[in-house]
Point group: C2
Chain length 216, copies 2
């Protein structure tokens, strides 16, 4: 299983509302800081939970203090929203990119699994947050994120349906969710370091387990 190349997980990008890309010095520094806040926030939210992190923590983590964060986000929940929207958009985009290149359903499923494993290993913090803190979102954003997640799941379900037309869609959807649970377990094991196979091996094992569980 060293065939189809998998696109690297895209960095979460500002959803819309880039009022001025601004090639100016300040504009670039601002974008960098925003990105730094998002990365630090993902790590902190993953470690201590959304409610366990203060705005002050967020600022301190990137070397500014407290209310400076409000120059980049309208509030604490907007930081969470940006993380989760970015994650679900990256997953959906990546999934679609992967499917567009797959010649048949079996390859498609293999590629989806490879892509998702790469994402879960590369963005463990984001995955952990996405799993845990969906409920903390404002209703509007929550609906948006749920919609993106649903679309991503449907790509898996469609692919599985080609491979196992004998099975009901509702079963395939349930199996896809269970497989996500399996693949997204890496942040958990990552929090218990040391007791884990080498990084290269982890990829292969997860891919094997996911395939076996889905097709069993």
């Amino acid at each position: 299983m060293a065939s189809t190349p998998v696109p690297a997980p895209t960095a979460p990008q500002a959803p819309q509302s880039a009022p001025r890309p601004a090639l100016t010095e300040r504009g670039r520094q601002k974008a960098d800081r925003r990105e730094a806040i998002l990365t630090a926030a993902a790590r902190l939210f993953a470690e201590r939970g959304y409610a366990g992190v203060t705005i002050e923590d967020l600022g301190t983590a990137v070397g500014v203090s407290g209310p400076a964060v409000y120059r980049h986000f309208t509030g604490k929940s907007a930081v969470l929203a940006a993380i989760l929207e970015g994650a679900s958009r990256s997953l959906l985009d990546g999934g679609e990119r992967v499917l567009a290149e797959a010649p048949d359903a079996a390859t498609a499923l293999r590629s989806l699994i490879r892509f998702h494993v790469a994402f879960a290993l590369g963005e463990a913090d984001v995955i952990a947050v996405q799993d845990r803190e969906l409920e903390q979102l404002d209703p509007g954003v929550r609906h948006e994120v749920r919609s993106l997640q649903r679309q991503y799941v449907e790509r898996w379900v469609d692919t599985l349906a080609e491979l196992r037309p004998d099975r009901a869609e509702v079963e395939l959807r349930f199996r896809a969710h269970a497989a996500f649970g399996l693949l997204n377990s890496t942040p958990h094991s990552a929090r218990t370091p040391g007791r884990r196979p080498a990084d290269g091996a982890v990829r292969g094992i997860l891919e094997e387990m996911a395939w076996a569980s889905l097709m069993s």
Copy 2:
């Protein structure tokens, strides 16, 4: 796969410190209320997260209000501690009971899976909390819970090692964790109701997926 009977998940029980079981009226009512608080707390913590639930919420959920909870627990974190200690103890006890009766490793693994599926489906709230809120515990209790969880995992690893002596222990441990991720995904799907196979089917599918992923 309708053979070995699986013991029902034990209700989480008071860890130690039962200063007086007290067959008196008041004693029984107090125990009932304590139990009611734990059940309600598990549901609320699962829904809104530990930090998203107030002591007032806990009281209201069982028909008393606010500070009455302190008659049963020394504080909010003690409620979480009781839930997580109960859960990890139930899992370990159940796992050991199941292993004691298994004639061979293959049956043992099948029984472990059946037991864990039953627990995850029956105590979805507790499972969700155990997955998400471990970090919120006071260090002492956290260490205790981690130790119990570790012992439970080791039962799985030992069983797997008999079936797959060719594989390194560290891989088997990683696989066990991934399988837990798969099995513990049910609270997630449970939060998205309707879109899920009938309860009877869910059991079988999860058991099949877990077995396939572990033995692949």
